[in-house]
Symmetry: C2
Subunit: 198 residues, 2 copies
């Protein structure tokens, strides 16, 4: 069998070319490290293709992902590759003037912007970092998210990261990777290290 040939060919009426250009929903979940780092690694490939990238950081602390953010901003401003738009919930989303009353409200505001961007086909890759948490906590309705993503126009790829991604989201995803912690230095009493953990 030739390399890279899929084991089954679906009866979906699509040509190989069409199958190569299907929008993908990817989920990185599990308790191990690497969920977000792998998502930002994926962004490097998208950048190389010249795709506009939208990052939505659904985390409270604005300090997280400082390395990834600086790197992607430098890449986005390099005059090569794709553009990078980086939105942070931790500092209050940039498009919101007033401070949200709660993290729950802030998370919902983030999702509303994702919906607007998807409808306008603003980006070609969306990194919804730690978005599994507001779904898991019920702050945002997973059914609505799945429905919006299923009906999104064009070829817009989406990566969602975070522990405890709801089953309904996993069922809707094209690609699910579970990062499993086999061994972690903090188990042995090590401290988080600059350049490694952040």
């Amino acid at each position: 069998m030739p390399r890279g040939k899929p084991e089954t060919v679906p009866e979906d009426g699509l040509t190989t070319r069409q199958r190569r250009h299907r929008p993908l929903l990817m989920v990185h979940t599990g308790t191990g490290k690497g969920k977000s780092t792998a998502a930002f690694g994926t962004a490097l490939r998208a950048w190389n293709q010249g795709w506009p990238i939208g990052v939505f950081q659904f985390v409270k602390s604005a300090k997280w992902r400082v390395g990834e953010e600086r790197a992607l901003r430098v890449l986005g401003d390099s005059g090569e590759g794709g553009s990078v738009t980086w939105h942070k919930m931790g500092e209050g989303w940039s498009w919101i003037q007033r401070a949200p009353e709660s993290s729950e409200e802030a998370a919902r505001e983030g999702w509303e912007q994702v919906k607007r961007d998807l409808a306008a086909e603003t980006h070609r890759l969306y990194v919804l970092d730690e978005f599994a948490y507001p779904l898991h906590w019920g702050w945002i309705d997973t059914g609505e998210v799945v429905s919006v993503l299923r009906d999104r126009p064009g070829t817009q790829h989406v990566v969602i990261t975070g522990r405890n991604a709801p089953r309904e989201l996993l069922d809707a995803a094209d690609l699910v990777t579970e990062m499993t912690k086999v061994k972690h230095p903090m188990d042995a009493g090590r401290k988080g290290q600059r350049g490694i953990e952040w």
Copy 2:
């Protein structure tokens, strides 16, 4: 308990500050996606710290990781952050004039260079991409690798990726993440996509 406080404090005679600066050996293994992408995501953090980064690609095809390579080269040449040195086995290692007689020999030549760089403390982060394969296949002796890494001088972090990482390597590692494939679009007959798979 304060956030980020480890559950156990080891009796290793080290101060917290020393524990924060311990060189780490990280292994990303398993059959799922994200092993290498997470390693390159880690490289973004290292770059942000201004660390010299050495990438050794132990893969046959020179076409792999084109997106990651271009992104890290642009970052390395940006005048910000750390430097990036990218070595490729697939095109023949840059420091070797003649073509190696086999992939096995090529892999060994790569490891010899890693050893020289570790001894000289050339880099602060080493990404040994797909290095688990030549270990698994017995081309390079895992015992020697573990011994060299254990005795490496200074604060040099190492990330090794690839399926089937030998048990001896996992035992020696500080951090092991297993990427587990839960669902993959190729299972459904999808084709690999530019910008996603490469």
